[in-house]
């Protein structure tokens, strides 16, 4: 947490201003853009829009900032809290460090949806879930309606409601994910339509499909949760977040000419120190230190602010050391924050905001913030090959030298991956630099035993529901843990194969919820079924592509014909044996060439006679 402070400070500011005076009209809606240069000439831009509506207005169906189209869906599907994610690409934790918002505002590749529905029975919950997914798929032009029973799970410990809910209402958490969904512009447009100012004013003007979906990593999130400040009326809060990591070099290319043609030889940044350096030989330098401006990156500057937005919240914030100089367009008020690593910019609704970050002089060592190391690195991949069975291996690395990490690892697997739970094991990678072998082994053994603490497992039913696996485990400090299990690939019916069966089947990302240290133990002591502690950090692995045995799709008829022929042959044999009479070879009728010839002759003779007559 400590190392995340600088980044969180702004969210903290906005959060205060949103939660402390939620009733004042000015703070019913506000928006903010956080820019943060990352190593390897990348730029993290995270947009955040948040608006509230009081319960009374919501119930009466008077929507002002809260989007009506979404509100109607919530009312109709009895949804108390909703979280929707559209994500693309992968977050490069080694280079970029910890995730924005502690990973709370991102999902696995594709579309992810989880919601708390108001329902007594499971059937009711499923019914509402169905309406919810269908309505959302219509609203967001995403095929969310494909989240059927096989893709829906009910996580036990991985997710906790973020909002304040009345204790008596019995809610059910349902979780669905579509790893194969390709997020694209048609999802962004409805997303923008939900904003009070659309894409027409404020920071939302920067959001443009071409830029967003050219990003190396991007995640759109919608969170709807009830918030009840003490002593005031409860408000329903919708928070829309877009995080994207842009490759500065790539996004500086003009829209009309996006092709990365090689630079002219003279513009190529070369390492002139090489002895062979000449006009036609050039050892390239990495151009990570580049200057950029908002309009270069996003194609246009910020066009004023949304007049509805809370004027006390700075629309744009930039996170670079205060030592760096930043140029802004005129009548833009810059305010450096006390933490010394960030500054914010205030503008009036009409003025444009243009911002330029010049190339740092090579002397300055800290031109950008050093990314914070995340609490955990996770990497998941398939093991084994062949069409019959395979394995999944997740490598979990805890970088911190002293603190151990406790987390919940959740897998939602499709039903055709039949997991062998008994093969699931976690082991610490033994470091070569260790004392004598024997005691190391013994130590590693009992460490391995203590790695997995709880397992929540809901086996799959063929064609009905997928496997749900939640493992509560801990990783000792400064060590790497391998979590592995095997599975069996089942053969689908031939109508169940998608049109691109030979591509393989996507397996959703694993969700890792790291528990904040204090409460973690509490949950563990409470034993099975304990409500886990609040998440300190979330991360998701990449999704996988599982290749199943695919038939040649002209097969079925061949099979039918082949089998029936075989059956017919067998039947013929048995029947003959049953009804034939067996006699000794010499008693049987005469046969062989001679007989055939004889018969033939007889025939001919008869024919000849016939002709004579």
């Amino acid at each position: 947490m400590r190392q995340l402070l600088p980044f969180l400070s702004f969210l903290w500011v906005t959060f205060l201003s949103s939660c402390v005076f939620p009733t004042t009209a000015s703070s019913d809606y506000h928006e903010q853009l956080n820019l943060r240069p990352l190593p390897l000439s990348a730029l993290l831009a995270s947009f955040n829009f948040r608006s509230n509506t009081t319960f009374s207005k919501f119930e009466k169906g008077n929507f002002r900032f809260f989007p009506r189209s979404l509100g109607q869906i919530l009312q109709h599907a009895g949804t108390r809290e909703l979280h929707l994610r559209f994500s693309l690409g992968r977050w490069d934790a080694e280079a970029w460090g910890a995730r924005p918002w502690n990973g709370a505002r991102e999902g696995g590749t594709g579309v992810e949806l989880w919601a708390w529905l108001e329902a007594e029975t499971d059937e009711e919950a499923d019914q509402k879930w169905l309406t919810l997914t269908n309505a959302l798929s219509g609203l967001f032009c995403a095929s969310l309606n494909f989240i059927d029973g096989t893709r829906t799970t009910r996580p036990v410990v991985s997710f906790q409601p973020e909002g304040d809910h009345a204790a008596d209402t019995d809610m059910q958490l349902l979780y669905g994910v579509l790893p194969h969904e390709v997020v694209c512009t048609e999802n962004l447009t409805p997303f923008l339509k939900l904003l009070p100012c659309k894409g027409k004013a404020g920071i939302a003007t920067l959001l443009d499909g071409h830029k967003l979906f050219d990003a190396s990593w991007q995640s759109m999130a919608i969170d709807i949760r009830p918030i009840c400040p003490s002593g005031e009326e409860c408000v329903l809060q919708i928070e829309q977040t877009i995080d994207m990591v842009l490759d500065i070099e790539r996004s500086k290319r003009p829209r009309d000419n996006p092709i990365p043609r090689p630079l002219p030889g003279d513009q190529l940044p070369c390492n002139t120190s090489k002895h062979y350096h000449s006009h036609d030989t050039c050892f390239p330098l990495d151009h990570s230190k580049e200057e950029w401006t908002l309009s270069q990156i996003f194609g246009k500057p910020v066009k004023g602010t949304c007049p509805l937005a809370d004027s006390t919240v700075p629309p744009v914030c930039l996170q670079v050391p205060n030592s760096r100089s930043v140029f802004v367009s005129k009548d833009v008020a810059e305010k450096k924050n006390p933490d010394g690593v960030s500054r914010c910019f205030y503008i009036s609704p009409e003025t444009e905001l243009e911002l330029m970050l010049p190339r740092p002089d090579d002397g300055a060592s800290t031109d950008i913030l050093t990314p914070e190391t995340p609490l955990l690195y996770a990497e998941r991949s398939f093991t084994g090959h062949g069409q019959e069975r395979g394995g999944v291996q997740t490598i979990l690395r805890n970088p911190s030298p002293d603190a151990e990490v406790e987390f919940i690892y959740m897998e939602t697997l499709p039903w055709f991956m039949r997991i062998y739970l008994h093969t699931m094991e976690a082991r610490v990678a033994v470091q070569a630099s260790s004392s004598n072998n024997k005691d190391r082994n013994s130590r590693s053994d009992d460490i391995n035993k203590s790695l997995i603490q709880q397992v929540y497992y809901r086996p799959a039913l063929d064609r009905a529901r997928g496997t749900q696996l939640e493992v509560r485990m801990r990783v000792p400090p400064a060590s790497t843990v391998f979590l592995t299990y095997d599975f069996e690939k089942s053969i689908l019916r031939y109508t169940e194969y998608p049109p691109d069966a030979n591509r393989g089947f996507d397996v959703a990302a694993a969700v890792i919820t790291i528990l904040s240290p204090g409460e973690g133990e509490g949950g563990a002591e409470a034993g099975a079924g304990a409500r886990a502690a609040a998440a300190a950090y979330n991360l998701r692995t990449t999704s996988l592509l599982c290749s199943l045995p695919t038939p040649d799709f002209s097969m079925p008829y061949n099979v039918i014909i082949f089998t029936s022929t075989a059956i017919a042959l067998a039947f013929g044999g048995i029947f003959n044996i049953l009804v034939r009479r067996f006699v000794a070879a010499d008693e049987g009728p005469e046969a062989g060439l001679a007989v055939l010839v004889g018969k033939l002759k007889a025939r001919l003779r008869g024919a000849a006679k016939g002709v004579k007559r």
């Binding site: 690409g89 002219p264 030989t281 390239p284 070879a585 010499d586 060439l593």
Partner: protein
């Protein structure tokens, strides 16, 4: 209808039928070979075509040129400084370069032991993570430090580096791109692919610290020649004669030939006038390569894991420069990047006879099957024959009296124990040469081989001697027939099965073993000696020696190649030679030599 069937079955006892099989199997062999020679004709071979529409080969503009050439030259300087350095040093030098391009790098150690040598080294590989992609699929670009001929890949490595740097600028990749730099062309890739699929032996090969998704294709650059080149040579043979999907080759031919105007050659046919003889030569070379089943390049070890791969090797004197080569690879990668599904549309079993002509399995399989069938036919004939009493009447009397069929069919007891035992014994013996030649260190191979050859010549007579002396009842003609029948039956079975896996190997073995069908105990000494000589000349050892001398190498190196391939790539050609062909040969030898002595004794008895 049943009556007809019955009469057809009755024909078995007709002596004329019994005379037929040898001619029949001879016919099979002749037809099989003739079939093979028909294939290059236009009527029998087909034009290649792209059946996976997603590939769209040659549909994209390629921009790899201009100042990238300056970069290439710089990288080439770097590489040239590394020649004759140790593997570790090379990787230490290359890794930072790759890192600067902005890739994630990792290394992998491996150690193989074969034929007394240790093949060890360190693979360096880097992953270019597709922007917007999520590690579900990947394409591999392999650049081995030295190719199969142990020439340093002086242009290939810089080209690969420059290409990766260029690819990094694009945002259109839907699959990760993996750059794999291996110290050699056989062991390194094999180790890496095994580890990637977790099929490796951890004691010899280290696991991969960094991974990506499913491998959808691989292209290896083998660009050792310094001067400008004329056209590209596509090497496509995999281990054990497995082949990449034809679509991959087609699209590269399409890109190189159609788009860049660069010629394409196959199977070292540097000049190819699309005529009969050249087609035939290409096909035969391809079959020979396939039959040997050795790894022919850095790509070979990918193919067993259903990853379609080829090696591109520029050759000839021309005006094409490295950039052109780079554009070919760029185009191919763009095509592979377009793939929505794993390559599955086109053929996996084919014989290429020109870059745009091929025959598919349905067309060529019959020839191998016919050759295999001749053994089976003979085996059945021998079985039937062994069921009848030894006829000592002279054949001409038989032929006059067709009514002999009316004579009550006489039968003879088949004594199966001895023949089965002998065949089993010979088969089990075949383990010995297999083990010896695969595990002996290289130094011993030559003496070992010759001692084995000598023993090999002595083995059949010795066995037949045993057979005549050992058992209480002298071994009868029937039993010899049965021995041969069983061994031929096995041979036919093995070969027809093998033909579906590795057509060429089956065909070659079948042809080499075909004389065994006709060798039988002869009574006249001349024929006997001729048979013995023929037998010796077609023995596996003799053939091996002849082949080695023909290709100007010594037997030891051939055997070593086999052993290395066996240990690293898992080539099973040695198994076929020693456990399929050799036993059949020994069994026939026993019959030929043994039958004679038995005959003499029979005569002695009758007089």
């Amino acid at each position: 209808m049943p009556r007809l069937l019955a009469s057809a079955l009755q024909l078995r006892r007709d002596p004329r039928i019994l005379k037929l099989p040898p001619y029949l199997s001879l016919l099979c062999i002749i037809v099989g070979v003739a079939w093979l020679f028909l294939l290059p004709l236009d009527q029998y071979s087909r034009r290649t075509y792209i059946s996976e529409n997603a590939l769209l080969p040659g549909q994209v503009h390629t921009y790899f040129s201009g100042s990238d050439q300056n970069v290439f030259r710089a990288y080439k300087h770097e590489v040239n400084e590394l020649v004759n350095k140790s593997n570790a040093e090379i990787n230490d030098k290359l890794e930072p370069i790759v890192k600067d391009i902005g890739l994630k790098t990792a290394r992998q150690n491996f150690t193989y032991r074969a034929a007394g040598h240790t093949y060890s080294g360190e693979n360096l590989y880097a992953i270019l993570q597709a922007p917007r992609g999520d590690a579900t699929e990947a394409i591999v670009l392999v650049a081995a430090w030295e190719n199969v001929k142990h020439e340093v890949n002086k242009n290939g490595i810089p080209l690969a580096l420059t290409l990766l740097r260029y690819f990094k600028r694009w945002s259109l990749w839907s699959k990760d791109i993996i750059l794999l730099i291996t110290p050699d062309s056989i062991a390194g890739p094999q180790a890496w692919v095994d580890a990637y699929h977790d099929a490796h032996n951890p004691s010899h090969v280290a696991s991969l610290p960094l991974k990506s998704g499913l491998l959808q294709g691989a292209i290896a650059i083998d660009y050792a020649q310094e001067r400008r080149f004329e056209s590209v040579h596509i090497v496509y043979d995999g281990v054990n004669g497995q082949l990449p999907n034809l679509d991959l080759i087609n699209s590269i031919v399409n890109i190189a030939g159609g788009q860049m105007g660069i010629g394409v050659a196959l199977q070292e046919m540097w000049r190819h006038n699309n005529g009969y003889s050249d087609r035939l030569r290409t096909m035969l070379r391809g079959m020979l390569k396939q039959g040997l089943g050795l790894a022919s390049g850095a790509h070979s070890s990918f193919i067993p894991y259903h990853v379609d791969a080829v090696t591109l090797r520029p050759f000839g004197e021309g005006w094409q420069d490295e950039m052109a080569m780079g554009r070919v690879i760029e185009g191919s990668f763009r095509s592979l990047n377009n793939l929505l599904e794993h390559l599955h549309q086109s053929f996996f079993f084919y014989l290429l006879m020109q870059r745009e002509r091929f025959v598919s399995i349905g067309t060529y399989l019959p020839s191998a099957m016919l050759v295999a069938a001749n053994f089976t036919i003979m085996a059945i004939a021998l079985w039937v024959k062994s069921g009848q009493p030894a006829e000592d009447a002279s054949p001409n009397t038989k032929s006059e009296t067709p009514s002999s069929t009316a004579a009550p069919p006489t039968t003879a007891e088949r004594d199966l124990f001895l023949p089965l035992g002998v065949v089993a014994l010979i088969q089990s013996l075949s383990i010995i040469p297999l083990y010896l030649f695969n595990h002996a260190p290289e130094g011993f191979l030559t003496p070992l081989f010759f001692t084995f050859a000598i023993l090999n010549t002595l083995l059949p007579p010795a066995l037949s001697q045993l057979l005549t002396t050992l058992p209480r009842s002298p071994t009868s003609e029937h039993q010899y027939n049965l021995i041969k029948s069983f061994s031929l039956l096995l041979l036919g079975m093995f070969l027809s099965t093998l033909a579906t896996l590795n057509f060429s190997l089956a065909l070659i073995t079948g042809l080499l073993a075909s004389p065994l069908t006709f060798l039988q105990p002869y009574k006249t000494p001349g024929a006997r000696i001729a048979a013995t000589v023929l037998l010796k000349t077609i023995s596996p050892t003799a053939v091996l020696l002849a082949a080695a001398t023909y290709w100007g190498t010594d037997v030891a190196s051939v055997l070593k190649e086999g052993a290395v391939a066996w240990h690293i790539c898992g080539t099973y050609s040695p198994v076929v030679v020693w456990c399929v062909w050799w036993p059949a040969w020994v069994a026939t030898g026993v019959v030929v030599l043994g039958g004679r002595g038995n005959n003499r004794r029979a005569k002695a008895k009758t007089t």
